[in-house]
Amino acid sequence: KEITVREALNSSLDEEMSADPSVFLMGEEVGEYQGAYKISKGLLDKYGPDRVLDTPITEAGFTGIGVGAAYHGLRPIVEFMTFNFSMQAIDHIINSAAKSNYMSAGQISVPIVFRGPNGAAAGVGAQHSQCYAAWYAHVPGLKVLAPYSAEDARGLLKAAIRDPDPVVFLENELLYGESFPVSDEVLDSSFCLPIGKAKIERQGKDVTITAFSKMVGYALQAADILAKEGISAEVINLRSIRPLDRAAINASVRKTNRLVTVEEGFPQHGIGAEICMAVVEDSFEYLDAPVERIAGADVPMPYAANLERMAVPQVEDIVRAAKRACYRAVPMAAAA
């Protein structure tokens, strides 16, 4: 059976709301409009306006209210129409949510999920395309998840909602409509994935490719192409950016001795940098080639289609980097 990521998210929300009356959903257009991207379709009808709350366009206010509700024992799911708008509320995510359990020595836990589409969509320009994975994963007290497939979406969202700590859940608009095969187990309402564990999406022995969210699909495509050229790539779907599954990454690199990191966000202080550091710290002597980083271009996202394509990683970038890591000659390119 196949379901879309949208269906996976929607069914997880539905099942968790049905299982636990303290779970509720709030955000802009999540109710009557059925969600800006229709992730919450049908939930207002099913759970009513006390548990599916349309908010004004006031992220700081409603996020603070969500966090306060979590202090008092509810399990809010706060939807950001996109994570770009979470910046208006970021003080509550960091200072009010992430730090409270620590500052109160465990008195005030904050079981809340912040979710919504993150990173680049298509043609939406500089203010609507930023990836916040590295920012949020920088901060202790938060857990940061990024699903790729429908299985990820179901299992990780359920884990996030059931978790007693604040979870930042980074979706991707361009994946919402993508279909993935799912097992009966995944469709079972008890299904859940562990937080902090990566998934080996594809086994390989020559080079490790790490990716999360949409880039996992690109990495898998790259692995197909590489296979045809005789390079066996292992693709790691990070799933959890914080905690980062250093063990899985290092184990893979100890096997392949080569690493390519892939992310759509800005490179500096990004996901790839941390993964490189994690491998250099723990498995330096296993590395047979420089770590190769593929990331969003170090520029605000341009609108024009040709520039936008240049600004985000393409499958061929991953293929090229993997070959470099494996010391296969690739023609050098000119500067732009």
Partner: protein, 363 residues
């Protein structure tokens, strides 16, 4: 005589808060009325054409259309000069035209071409025209209001006798940063006019579902406000003139423009799930800003129906020509990926997704 003064009463009285409203009698001229008709018609036609271009996949991403609200952009512009500043949200195409932007650069931007007003790098939400003091085109709801107060700060700092109009929607009117900026503007007497374009919906949310008090002209609390029929270009002009004078002399003021957007919020919104088709057609029939001016033109015998039809035909051609021309413009050169990240790049290297494949020295 096309410059002879005409006095026309506004559709409805102004409603005011903490200030005496201006007169309902608006002075205009035949020439001005004809220009209003033409300018609003061009805007209307541009937005409808943008809708088609979007459906033809020549415009991507978000595209927020302004048809229905044209009287606000046009009436405001008639009241002020290009030394005054304007800043608005993402629904910015028509404001760009009102500030003197041309159709070709507008369409080229929408299609992400080099001839675009932001060389294709900004897109639908990010039109600017700095030489006419138009500061965009902002995608973050509410953010343009403090920015606009900052423009007003600079105007006062430089001792210009100018003002800034910061436009925002009814949805944006609940944003906290607006109240912060208004307090500071009032303390510092900044020449800032906060213009709430109340089109009664923020995306799919009716004003009363998002605001406990949808009387936006009063939401400045201790700051004066005026409610204006935003479908009446003459009322808009009168209010903006009044507001500018007030702001330069006394500091901030809020204008609520009662208006309506005909299209959905952006292209993915059919615009008909949260409001009735009757509501939309009722506004079109009774309050349309262009039709109001058409009637005034007839009432004052300034043109015949056939003359206006001809003008509209000509406008349609003008828009089609602009689109054709914009389509001829090529995509931005690939080197544009790295220009304008900084004004001063210090010759530092910057990189694309694969730094060993794509790099540039920042100018």
């Amino acid at each position: 005589d096309s410059t002879a003064a005409l006095t026309i009463e506004t559709s409805v009285p102004f409603t005011s808060h903490l200030v005496d409203p201006p007169s309902r009698d608006v002075t205009t001229t035949p020439a001005e009325l004809m220009t209003f008709f033409r300018d609003m018609s061009i805007m209307r036609r541009m937005e409808i054409a943008a809708d088609s271009l979007y459906k033809a996949k020549l415009i991507r991403g978000f595209c927020h259309l302004y048809d229905g609200q044209e009287a606000v952009a046009v009436g405001m512009e008639a009241a002020i000069t290009r030394s005054d500043s304007i800043i608005t949200a993402y629904r910015d195409h028509c404001t760009y035209l009102a500030r003197g932007g041309d159709l070709v650069s507008a369409f080229a931007e929408l299609m992400g071409r080099e001839a675009g007003c932001s060389r294709g790098k900004g897109g639908s939400m990010h039109f600017y025209k700095k030489d006419a003091n138009f500061y965009g085109g902002h995608g973050i709801v509410g953010a343009q209001v403090p920015l606009g107060c900052g423009l007003a700060f600079a105007q006062k700092y430089k001792k210009e006798d100018t003002a800034t109009f910061a436009l925002y929607g009814d949805g944006a009117a609940n944003q906290g940063q607006l109240f912060e900026a208004l307090n500071i503007s009032a303390l510092w007497k900044l020449p800032a006019i906060l213009v709430c374009e109340n089109n009664h919906y923020g995306m799919g949310t009716a004003e009363w579902r998002a605001a406990k008090s949808p009387a936006y002209y009063k939401r400045g609390d201790y700051v004066p406000g005026l409610k204006v029929d935003g479908m009446d270009v003459l009322a808009v002009k009168q209010a903006c003139k009044f507001a500018k004078d007030h702001a330069v002399a006394n500091g901030p003021i809020v204008l609520e423009m009662d208006t309506y957007r005909y299209h959905g919020h952006s292209m993915s919104d059919p615009g008909s799930t949260y409001r009735t088709r009757d509501e939309i057609s009722g506004v079109r029939q009774e309050r349309d800003p262009i039709e109001r001016v058409r009637k005034l033109i007839f009432a004052h015998d300034l043109a015949t129906p056939a003359e206006l039809k001809d003008m509209e035909k000509e406008i349609r051609k003008q828009v089609d020509d602009a689109i054709a021309k914009a389509k001829e413009s090529s995509m931005p050169g690939t080197s544009e990926l790295f220009t304008n990240v900084y004004k001063k790049g210090f010759g530092v290297e910057s990189f694309g997704p694969d730094r060993k494949e794509l790099r540039a020295t920042l100018p």
